[in-house]
Symmetry: C2
Subunit: 504 residues, 2 copies
């Protein structure tokens, strides 16, 4: 048993008499004063398994009960490679062992529902891509460019040809888990989409009772895999037969069946999920409103992930035909204030193999720019926080008051409708971030100043580099700067400046 | 006297005893059953003038009373060149004589407050530029790059050095009117900014009583000039000492003193003016929310003009450093749904002469693209209306219901907060317009589809052209198309398609 690595016990037993999904098998793991109660699962062919994800090192005792009764002891040691689950910490993420994790996601919705050959090609592509999170689905996807039939489905059908959630397709789950684990071993988290509306088989139309049986079984199998984030759905709000309360019930079911507390959120088409709910660990949004990032980080005190904001590509749908520059630009907008972004790619292809849903090879020009950004952010001493750059104060001038009574701008802003406010805020999009007083980042996005300034702390010295996000260059603009500093810039789009503290 | 041309009567009289601005002189013009009451004005040096803008041809009698008493008759004939004022008609504009007018504005805030030489250069530049509307100010401007002192001010100062609104500077007004008329003769409307906050002289801080005296005098002089739109202010909401009711009073003062009904609106920084007010003829907004155009046209049933949405340039301010492509793109976004846009240019210059405030020469790359767009829109048979392109219906399929009870998408949209709604709407920006069934326009803006479609009427034939808005090319894509039509497109940003009905 290794800390943060899936521990698995296997038993033989009689075939379950009732539901194969809800087999009567549970286990208790104890270490010192702490106890974890987990459910086991039936894996077909008279085989039962119990999985456990040890959260700390030490001496464990375990006891399995139900259709199988067994007990034992294990010494759990620290793994040399496992970092644990990714968890939220403030408005950022971090592995459980404290290792830095900055999400740079991509999207391959039906990754697991392709031919073995295509899956291998996808994993091979990912092995050299910058992405460390993949949004993909348990259920197969039906949509434009998604007409192929998967090899397996999560359940077997009953005699009437209806999906029977009580009879899992064991081959499917083994296949799916293998992909999760292979991704995980490559350092890639699975942002696991539990439900979605793009369906021709009926998985999106199951009853709440069926949904809960499915979740129960899925979490018995998957919760002990450290590389998983629960994404309740892709575009949950388009599953029109489910009410808001149904979603809260799904959320509760996940929480109740997850002994470890994986990350949990829910992805919208139109209506944002309620990210203030305590069990929701991060803000997961589909929107292009990057100017909202700092506001949402402040409101929810949780990480903000722009998990969908159009894909690099050239298909007919407006969500799937932005340029490589624009994809890069949107990553920079999010990341420059300390939010995060998720890539996707949809170049038209006669063979219908588009990365966003089916994987294969990456054809776009944004991934290498995303890699450049990722390397840069990983090189910083800490995650980025939004930076409200102070104004230059003339001698004797004081900071603007920040309350509405004294500051007429704030008063004015408070007096407008929400519609009006958004129409104005989107213009004033500053993408400025900082790492304490160690580094300050300004991203000018679609603006192209030839002159600008940065108002750095007076009491330290900084080297200011100018970064061309498209050409992936980083050149020193000013060797040593303090306080308010004028800068001459290239006067083109896609420029950032990064001021890093000089430590002597 | 010519219809739609300023008619002016000049009289000698004693210097006004009290206010020179509110001199006691008025006139009545009658033609058939109709009568117009107008105020005259004192023009200094014992000269009084009465100006009148005849709205129709015919035989007029006039009578002047007050410090001057006189009467006379005039025959008013139709001018060969004058088209009358521009007025709102539905969500578009048109000259009073029915001549087409599609506004393509630019911004030269302090046009009139420059040296004669610079003003001449500006007018010369405008003579070959595509712009037919200029936003500029009565009061001089103080701001970055605006430090020069004007030759004249609208008023004289009193003995205490305070501006005396009762003592107009006649040379200033003659100078200003000359510019208005020269622009007008070039086919360029003046979107006349009556107030603005960027001031070091005190004009922005006058009392409401002073404001009303100033407006009274300004309208006595200017209302008979046909080329004027009243813009109550530039960024009215930053004049913090004026309340909303003060602005309503300013609006009422303008309406009361304008015998002809010039166009009237008000330009915001943060808070949109209330465009539902009956006297407001059009929506004038500063925002980059182009996706709102169709919604606002529908809400207000008035023309929508994006009068400020950042300027082409490279200065330090984010409102003044977008690219030529982006300026062009924003014009296309507005115009493709039948809204309108206003250009401005702010390239850094050591001599502080930036087009947006001071004029001079145009340095940017957008004006020629705006000219291309203007020519194209003028070539269409009518102004553009937003086009809600119908879905392709499969055999037997029916149109989606458009009420919330039956259409879950509409129901969903109605269930979200305004903040949420704006964050979603901005992604779904379709810039589709049509001219009845004569022409259909789709602008893909920052999207780069290589495949797309257009759902044309079944009962007519169309030639489909593909337009590259940056390279200013227009090439026939499909010679003859009807109904739902697939299109192969260049797969780059800045592409439009225009389908024009073939009339045989």
């Amino acid at each position: 048993m290794k800390r943060y690595e899936t521990f698995e016990l296997t038993f033989s037993g009689p075939e379950p008499e009732g539901s194969q999904a809800l087999a009567d098998i549970q286990a208790k793991f104890s270490c010192g004063d702490e106890t974890w109660n987990v459910k086991g699962f039936y894996d077909g062919n008279g085989t039962y398994k119990v999985r456990f994800l040890p959260q700390k090192e030490g001496h464990y005792t375990w006891a399995v009960s139900g259709v199988v009764n067994a007990s034992g002891e294990e010494d759990c040691t620290v793994s040399e490679t496992a970092h644990g689950m990714v968890q939220a910490e403030g408005t950022h993420f971090v592995y459980q062992d404290g290792t830095k994790y900055l999400p740079f996601g991509t999207t391959i919705y039906a990754l697991a529902h392709q031919s073995e050959e295509l899956i291998e090609q996808t994993l091979n592509t990912l092995s050299t891509a910058p992405f460390n999170k993949v949004r993909h689905c348990i259920f197969p996807k039906h949509y434009d460019y998604n007409h192929n039939e998967p090899q397996f489905y999560p359940f077997e059908k009953d005699a009437d040809g209806k999906w029977d959630v009580h009879r899992p397709c064991f081959a499917y789950w083994a296949h799916f888990e293998k992909i999760l684990n292979r991704l995980g071993e490559m350092g890639i988290e699975t942002d696991l989409i539990l439900f979605h509306p793009y369906d021709r088989w009926g998985f999106s139309k199951m009853s709440m009772e069926e949904n809960k049986v499915y979740l129960d079984y899925a979490l018995r199998r998957l919760a002990a895999i450290p590389y998983i984030w629960w994404s309740m759905a892709n575009e949950y709000d388009l599953m029109f037969h489910l009410s808001e309360n149904d979603w809260f019930e799904i959320e509760d079911t996940i929480v109740k069946n997850d002994p470890y507390g994986h990350l949990l959120s829910n992805h919208n088409c139109i209506k944002f999920y309620d990210f203030s709910r305590p069990a929701i660990t991060h803000v997961c949004v589909q929107t292009i409103a990057f100017y909202k990032a700092a506001e949402w980080m402040d409101r929810y005190q949780k990480p903000v992930v722009y998990d969908e904001f159009c894909y690099e590509g050239d298909i007919q749908h407006e969500w799937g035909n932005i340029s490589a520059f624009e994809m890069t630009n949107r990553f920079w907008k999010a990341c420059s204030v300390g939010a995060y972004a998720t890539h996707g790619e949809t170049f038209f292809s006669e063979d219908e193999i588009l990365w966003w849903a089916r994987g294969g090879v990456l054809k776009g020009e944004s991934p290498k720019r995303i890699a450049f950004l990722k390397d840069l952010l990983y090189s910083l001493p800490s995650p980025v926080e939004p930076w409200n750059e102070p104004r230059k104060l003339e001698p004797g001038q004081e900071e603007e008051p920040v309350n509405a009574a004294e500051n007429p701008f704030i008063h004015l802003f408070n007096s407008v409708t929400d519609e009006n406010a958004e129409c104005i805020k989107m213009k004033g999009d500053n993408f400025n971030g900082h790492c304490g007083d160690d580094a300050f980042l300004k991203y000018f996005s679609g603006h192209q100043p030839s002159i600008s300034s940065i108002n750095l702390p007076e009491n330290a010295s900084y080297r200011i580099d100018v970064i061309d996000v498209w050409n992936m260059t980083r050149e020193t603009l000013i060797e040593k700067a303090s306080g308010y500093t004028d800068m001459k810039l290239p006067g083109k789009e896609g420029i950032a400046v990064l001021a890093v503290k000089i430590t002597e």
